[in-house]
């Protein structure tokens, strides 16, 4: 049986080399699928069809299985994120402290549901399962930065600042 040659990189975008690096480090073993998808998402921000196909082929994982993994885990994102991301924590402590009201206020302001991005690609409104900052609930992440004991007004102000950029 001839030795396996991994497929060529999808483009000359340097980020693919990082992705390939993760796979090489793991000897192109199938169990590196999730690790590799993490690398793709941190390099590109999301996973598109080309990326999933490339990773599946490189690791010799059936495409159906790769897609199954991508859609099984909440952390993986199939759509490009907006320029800014407002993530509202939906953990128990945040729920008790009224995170649902924050979510409703943000949805109303942006006119989108949680998990969506505004039409102009400006702001994504996301939901986190729990970021572990429960002692400062309710918590939101503004572009990944944790802000605790947030009021709806503070959050809406941040959204305004992003909207006028």
């Amino acid at each position: 049986m001839p030795a396996f040659t991994p497929p060529p990189l999808p483009s000359d975008d340097k980020r693919w080399k990082i992705v390939n690096g993760t796979m090489r480090k793991n000897g192109f073993a199938r169990h590196a699928l999730i690790e590799t998808l993490h690398t793709v998402q941190s390099a590109f921000g999301y996973l598109d069809d080309d990326a999933i196909r490339f990773v599946a082929r490189s690791l010799r994982v059936p495409l159906s299985q790769a897609y199954g993994v991508v859609t099984f885990y909440h952390y993986f994102c199939l759509k490009p994120p907006g320029r800014h991301t407002m993530t509202i924590c939906a953990g128990t402590a945040c729920y008790i402290k009224g995170a649902d009201k924050l979510a409703a206020a943000a949805e109303k302001r942006l006119g989108i549901a949680q998990g969506q991005t505004t039409k102009d690609g400006g702001i994504s409104l996301m939901k986190a399962r729990c970021v572990g900052a429960c002692s400062r609930a309710p918590v939101v992440l503004c572009d990944g930065e944790v802000a605790g004991e947030v009021t709806a007004e503070q959050m809406l102000e941040q959204l305004e600042r992003w909207a006028v950029e």
């Binding site: 952390y75 399962r129 900052a133």
Partner: protein, 546 residues
């Protein structure tokens, strides 16, 4: 690395530290950083340099009372300052050697007095990115003692003698689990650390991994020696980037010092650890699902037996323990099994770390001896419910646990007692609710969580949680009937009995426990279309989720 070398490092570093007249420790845990602890640390470093005093400014892990953050502790006086910001840096530095800054001083004696720190003994005292800080506080001494002076059987015996039980929630005796893996046939075995703290509202494992990562690694290495494993994995949630970074640094440092790798401490023992990222699936806390995830597959559980101890990761015997369980190992080896068994209650030994959150004055991390009354944790350590509201329930065990009402607060915390109350110990989330929380809505919140987190493999869980959610939504929107309630109870029993894994088997707990203690709230919703806490919108149209 030999024990002599380790002691030499400890000696050199403590001599190094003694050169400083003062140590200013800044808590850099997530809660404090979100309030500007990083700017505070910079300001303190600058002020210390400018003052010409001999001051060491140190970044540490979680000190505990997050609601008082950002926290700073000045040693050797052990003065604790709360709600410090960068503007206070100069005042703190100039007070060194004189009187403490009165307006920042806080009195948390009652908060700390009842706590016993084993797992968190280093939290707030070491820089998590410096292995030497850990070594000074007896770090890796247990590992090297084990390798040079103890047989694997001796280690097993000591862990069994301690009575340590799994801290992930199940409470399986750790010694028994290790013994099974040790007995399993095979040259290649794995040790896996479960750091997939999926319980929303709990952050003990995050704080341990971020604040004292070497303790987890040392525990894993000792376990590997005891069971005959040579390879370890730490499975961490991707939502904890800081924990991943700190563990990565810790592993690199441990390798550099020869505390991981081949021939550790000039013995034939080889062990190394790799980090694997979770990707946001609660079910991956279940051990067979976790194994599937490390193997790069969807995190779906499989029926047991065979147990992972016999056939686990890549089909090999695998030991899986939670972060806090591993964090208890080194102190047990150092101080003896009896020392550990002397703490706690009859069948639950040692201490337990809880993440105390919700409607309570002192939120944060607490570590208490098992057997302590819930009331002591909530009223004395936690400072009770803030004025103007009354305590209603405390939720333990997350989506798999239950709500415990005020009249049960005098029960001592142990695995068995909490199960008798209809809840579970769980990983250690403890969420306090006051009269503004609607217990039906709380039950619905948890059921919604389990519904979205169900992996879909078995029908009782996949379809059952969705049906529970529909019924609870009916009740919460004022269209529920008494028949719905009866159906709900029947459904709970079925899901409990027939589900494949722990997620499904425990998913009805929040419903059953609230029904047991707060049945009148359900009745009020159904008969009078009224939500006593004013949370549920009874006029809303029913949203039925398919």
């Amino acid at each position: 690395m030999t024990i002599e070398e380790l002691e030499q490092i400890a000696k050199t570093v403590s001599q190094e530290n003694e050169k400083y007249d003062f140590e200013v420790n800044v808590c850099m845990d997530l809660a404090c950083v979100s309030q500007g602890a990083d700017r505070l640390r910079e300001a303190l470093t600058k002020a210390a340099e400018a003052s010409g005093k001999n001051v060491l400014v140190r970044r540490t892990g979680c000190m505990g009372p997050c609601s008082s953050g950002p926290l700073v502790r000045v040693d050797p006086e052990e003065t604790l300052y709360s709600k410090v910001n960068a503007g206070h840096a100069e005042a703190i530095v100039s007070s060194l050697g004189g009187q403490p800054v009165p307006e920042l001083q806080c009195d948390l004696n009652e908060h700390f007095d009842k706590q016993v720190r084993v797992v968190l003994e280093n939290a707030g005292y070491i820089d998590p990115e410096k292995i030497d800080d850990y070594i000074v506080r007896d770090g890796y001494k247990a590992l090297l003692t084990v390798l040079t002076e103890m047989t694997p059987n001796g280690v097993l015996h000591r862990i069994s003698e301690s009575g340590l039980r799994g801290r992930g929630g199940g409470g399986y005796p750790t010694g028994l689990k290790w013994g099974t893996v040790a007995k399993a046939a095979g040259d290649l075995k794995y040790v896996v650390c479960n750091g997939d703290e999926g319980d929303p509202g709990a952050f003990m494992d995050r704080s341990v991994m971020e604040g004292d990562p070497h303790r987890v690694i040392e525990g894993m290495a000792i376990a590997a020696y005891a069971v005959g494993a040579s390879k370890g994995f730490i499975y961490v949630r991707a939502e904890y980037p800081v924990a991943v970074a700190r563990l990565t640094t810790a592993l690199r440092e441990a390798r550099r010092r020869g505390l991981l790798g081949n021939g550790i401490c000039n013995t034939p023992f080889n062990f190394d650890v790799e980090i694997r990222l979770g990707a946001g699936a609660f079910v991956c806390g279940e051990e067979t699902a976790l194994i599937a995830s490390i193997e790069g597959r969807r995190g779906t559980p499989r029926p047991r037996p065979p147990y992972p101890a016999v056939s686990g990761l890549f089909g090999k015997p695998t030991l899986i323990n939670n972060v806090e369980t591993f964090a208890n190992v080194a102190p047990i080896i150092r101080n003896g099994g009896k020392w550990f068994a002397n703490m706690g209650s009859e069948r639950s030994k040692g201490t337990k770390v809880f993440a105390l959150t919700g409607k309570i004055a002192n939120t944060g991390l607490v570590e208490v001896p098992m057997g302590i009354k819930l009331r002591e944790i909530i009223e004395e350590i936690g400072g009770g419910v803030p004025a103007g509201h009354t305590f209603k329930a405390v939720q333990t065990g997350g989506p798999s646990g239950g709500c415990i009402p005020a009249e049960m607060l005098d029960v001592g915390v142990s695995y068995d007692a909490l199960v008798r109350l209809g809840s579970i110990m769980g990983s250690g989330g403890m969420i306090v609710m006051d009269d503004t929380s609607c217990m039906v809505n709380v039950a619905r919140f948890f059921v919604e969580f389990c519904m979205t987190e169900s992996c879909g493999k078995c029908i009782p869980c996949r379809a059952g949680t969705a049906q529970m959610y529909t019924l609870l939504t009916r009740i919460c929107t004022g269209v529920g009937t008494m028949d719905d309630l009866e159906l709900l109870v029947g459904l709970c029993e079925t899901i409990k009995e027939a589900s494949l894994c722990g997620l499904g088997m425990t998913a009805p707990n929040p419903v059953l426990s609230t029904l047991k203690y707060f049945r009148d709230e359900y009745i009020e919703h159904i008969e009078h279309k009224r939500c006593p806490a004013g949370v549920c919108n009874m006029e809303a149209p029913v949203e039925v989720v398919a």
